[in-house]
Symmetry: C2
Subunit: 583 residues, 2 copies
Amino acid sequence: MYRTHSCGELNITNVSQEVTLSGWIQKSRDLGGMTFIDLRDRYGITQLVFNMDTNADLCQKARKLGREFVLKISGIVTERESKNAKISTGDIEIIVSEIKILNASKTPPFTIENDTDGGEEIRMKYRYLDLRRNPLKENLMLRNKVGFEVRSYLHGIDFMEVETPYLIKSTPEGARDFVVPSRMNPGTFYALPQSPQTFKQLLMISGYDRYYQLVKCFRDEDLRADRQPEFTQIDCEMSFVEQDDILNTFEGMTKHLFKKIKNVEMSGFPRIKYDDAMRLYGSDKPDIRFGMQFVELNELAQNKGFNVFDSAELVIGICAPGLATYSRKQLDKLVKFVQKPQIGAKGLVYVKYNEDGSFKSSVDKFYSQEDLKAWADKMEAKPGDLMLVLSGDTAHTQNALNVLRLEMGDRLELRDKNTYAPLWVIDFPLLEWNEDSKRYHAMHHPFTAPKPEEMHLLESEPGKVHANAYDLVINGVEIGGGSIRIFDKDIQAQMFKHLGFTDEEAQEQFGFLMEAFEYGAPPHGGIALGFDRLVAMFGGSDSIRDYIAFPKNNSGQDIMISSPSAIADAQLEELFLEVKNIQ
Amino acid sequence: MYRTHSCGELNITNVSQEVTLSGWIQKSRDLGGMTFIDLRDRYGITQLVFNMDTNADLCQKARKLGREFVLKISGIVTERESKNAKISTGDIEIIVSEIKILNASKTPPFTIENDTDGGEEIRMKYRYLDLRRNPLKENLMLRNKVGFEVRSYLHGIDFMEVETPYLIKSTPEGARDFVVPSRMNPGTFYALPQSPQTFKQLLMISGYDRYYQLVKCFRDEDLRADRQPEFTQIDCEMSFVEQDDILNTFEGMTKHLFKKIKNVEMSGFPRIKYDDAMRLYGSDKPDIRFGMQFVELNELAQNKGFNVFDSAELVIGICAPGLATYSRKQLDKLVKFVQKPQIGAKGLVYVKYNEDGSFKSSVDKFYSQEDLKAWADKMEAKPGDLMLVLSGDTAHTQNALNVLRLEMGDRLELRDKNTYAPLWVIDFPLLEWNEDSKRYHAMHHPFTAPKPEEMHLLESEPGKVHANAYDLVINGVEIGGGSIRIFDKDIQAQMFKHLGFTDEEAQEQFGFLMEAFEYGAPPHGGIALGFDRLVAMFGGSDSIRDYIAFPKNNSGQDIMISSPSAIADAQLEELFLEVKNIQ
C-alpha cells in the first residue's frame, strides 16, 4: 500500500495517527538539527520532519534527497509549532519514521514553482514537468470541472450526447481539412471534421430532438498565437425551436456555469443586433463591461471646411471620461497608436473638454467652441472628459475605433478580469462579399437559414439578407455561435448557388443532406461553443494553450513527442502515396 | 412556438387542455367518419383524432398526409374511449383543430418500425432514417446514459477527465496507424491515436493521480463484423496503486453501472489467473454464467491402447448435464461441428452416462465400463449426462473445447442474456512468442510491468514471466484490460530490447517517455474499457455497430456520405503528395 492519505487531507484532527504518504519532494530545508521536506501530490503539500537528535540515520538519508524525488514515507501526525494558515495541512507535520525512495529524479530543467524560470520552448519540450506546476494543474482541473458541469446541465434538460464520426469526408467549403488516406480504399481520403455540423443536423432529422457533444474539431489553418489545429467544441442542436428557444437554453447553461464555477449570479443577457453592435462598438464581439459607445458625428462635423472629415464616409467618436488632463505627449502617443499598421487609422482628432467648460482640440482651426460643445452634447461628455474622433470609410474606421475603445478601456481600468459581461449578438448578415473570390461567402456557414421575412431579397439583393444567427460574447471574446438552419431542400440548393457551388458540386458534397431534407426534416437550429476559450475565460486568461494538456506550437508541432514526423516507406506504399516536390 | 408539450408526456391529468405538438406521422388510419394519426417524437407517440362530422375540411386534409410528414398541430386533450395501456399517453387523444405541415416526406425506402423491411445496405445509406426506429434510438439513449454514469462515478471519486491530443506520432508497435499528412511540415505525418497510452502515463508523471477520458481511438485494421476503424474507449490511469487498487476501483464502477442501468446488485467479481482460465475454460475470456469446466483426463485416458489419446499432449473433456439422451444423429452432428475448419478438431469422443449407470461411448473398444466410470467420477458426471472429450496439442485442443463448451451452453440455455457473470482474469503472461516474426510480442503492450517476483527470469526465460495485467470479462466478452506499468527507464529499455527494438528505435519512438521516467515517475497503472462493447453488453447484443450512431461498413466506408473519397489535386499538392501505383 502506497498511502493511507493524500498529501492534502491531514489536519489537526489526525494528530497522533500513524500515516503513510506518497508524493514528490517540492522542497527541503536543513535547519541545524532538523530537516523539513514538503511532500507534494495532486491534492496538496504536507510537511515532513526529520530530527538529527532522535533519528540521525534517517535525517542524513533525507538530506541527500533532491527535488522531485518520489517518496513513500510513514510517520506520526503531529501538531506544528509554527503553523501555516495558507495551506489546508498547515497545522500539522509528519514525524517520519520510514522513507522509501520510489523513484529518483534528475534536476528538472526549470523550477516546478508557480512562477518558473523556464522559457516557453523548454517548458513545451518537458510539458509533463510544466504540468506539475500549480497554475497549469489548476487550469486542467478547471477544465475538468467546466466539462462536467456542461454535461450535467445538458443531461438534466434531456440533451443526449451522441458521438459523431471523426473519419468523414473532405469538403472545400470553410477552412482547410486535415485528410487521412484510406488504405482499404486506395487513392481516397477521409477528412477530420471541422465540426460535426452535417451529422448533428442528420440527428435532428432522425428525431433526436436535443443533441450535444463535447468534441474535438480540426482545422488545418496557419496558426496564430491563440489557435490550435485541434480544439474542443461544445456542439449542440435542437429541433422544433426558434432562435429564442436556443438563446434561452444556452443562456441558462452559461448562467449555471457562472454559478457553479465562479459563484456569480447572472441576470438576463442583453441581445444586440449585429448592425447595432457594429454601429455602437465597431465589433461583432463588443466588450460591454464598459460603455464608451461610438457616437456618429457626420452631421455635426462635416461641411465645416475640414477636408478630412468632409471626404469621410463616417466620422465617429468616443468619450473617455476624465482624460482631459492628458498631456500633449500622451495625446501624440495615442495618435501613433491608432496609426500602427494593424490598426491603420490615418490620424486621430482629439477634443479636451476642460474643467472650466472650454474646449481644446486638434482641429480648433476648423471648429468653434460652439461646434465642439455640440459634439460634447451629442457624446454626453462632461467637463474633464476627452473626446477621440476617427474618420474614413465605415469598415476601417469602425474597426480602428474599436481597438482604440478597448485601449482606453484598459487605461481606465474598466476591463476588470473578475467582472463578466455576456451578451448575445443576433441578426447577423447571411452572406458577406469576398473581394478575393468575387463571390459571397456564408457569414456563419452554408446551412444557416435566411430570416423568413427577408427571403424575398435572397435573389435580388442577397447581401442585404440577415439570418437567425447569433453569437455568445463574454467580455469581448466570442465564446460561441450558431443559427437556425435551413431544412428545405430548395432553399438549401439556392444557398449553395449563391455560394458559388454548381449543382454537381452541391450534390457531390452535400447530396446526402439535401436528400435527407426530403424525408421529413424538422425545423432545427443549434450552437457551438469553443470549449478551450470558455475555460480560458473562466480562468481569466486569453491563452487557450494554457488550458490544453498537450498543445501544439505555432508550427503545429508537438516538440515533446517530435510530431509530426516522417513515416516508414512501407507505410506510404500501403497507402499508395509518394512524397514529392519538397523544396 | 412549435409545441407546448412533447408527444410523450400528456396523460389523463391534461384532459381539456389546449395543447400544441410537433412530430412525425408514425401511421394513420381512416375508420369511416374518423381519422387517427399517431404523432411521434423522441419522447413518445400521441394519438390525434379528426372527425368528418365536426370538421370535414381538416379531416380531408389529414387523410392526405403520408408517413413521416412533419406536423405541428393544436387541439384539445380528451380521454380515449378505448385506452392503450402499452404507451404512457394511451389514456388520451387530441381532438385536432389546426394542422400545419412543417415538412413533407417522400415515402421512406424502408418502414420506420421496430422490425423493418429494409436490408443492411439500404439502412446504412439512409442511416438517419434507420436511427428513427425505436431499437436504434434506444441503443443510443442507452449509450448516452452509460457514458453519463461512467463520468458521474469517476468524477465522484476524484478522477479528472483530461483530453489528450488526436494528432500524435506514428509508432510501428501494435496495430497499423491511420496517418495525417502535415501541410505545415512537408513530408511529415501525424498519426491518430490507437490509444492515449503514453499520454496518460505522462499525466501520471505530471502528478495528476487519477485520470480518465472517454476517447475515440483509431486502428487501421482489416475489419471484421464487430470491429470499427474508430471506436470509443473509457481510458483510465491511477498513481501510487497496486493491481488490487485498480481492480477494486473499476469493479466499483462496473457495479455502479449495473445498478444504474440494469438495477442489478452485483457481489464481488471472481478473479481467475490466466493459466487457470486456459486450463478450466480454454479461453482468456471465459463465460462463467455456467460451469461445465474442463477436466483433464491424460492420466485416466492414456496408455489404454487408444492411439489418438496416447499421442496427444492433452486429453480434456466437459460434462453436458442431462444430454445422455442425444441420438446417434445428434452426436454425429456434434462431431461435424468440432471438425469445422474454424474449430479444427480432428474428432470428438463422447461418453453417455446412461440413467441405468452403464456407459456407452465412441471408444468402447478401448475403455472398459470401469475406465469410463473413473472418467465420470473425475468429471463429476451423473447418470443421464454426456461427456465430450477432445485431444491433441494443448493450444488447439483448449480452443476447440472452448467453442464446444459455449455451444453446449447455448443448447442447454445456460447463457441467459439477462444473467451477468463478470470476472477478472489476472496474471497474464508478459510476452507471447510470435512464430511469424520469430520474436516476442507484448501480450498487453510494451509498457506493462513484469511481476516483481519474476523479474529475475526476464533475461533467461522471458516467456515464463507473468505481468500484473488483467482483463475485465463479462459473459465471455472482454470488456476491458489493463496493467501496472513500468516506471523505471532501465526496465523499459530492457522490455523494448525483448520486443526487438534497437536502442535507436526505442529512443526515436519512445525516447520522450523514457526521459520522463528520469524526472520522478510514480508507480502507476490503468485500464481501458471498450465503451462500444460495454454499451452493447448492457443492450444485450453482440453487435457494436448497432450502438454507434454513424458506423462504417466492413470496407471502412460510410456509404451515407460516400466517404472516403477522392480529394482535389490542389489538396494533394499542398500536402506534397502524389497518389500512385493503384492497380
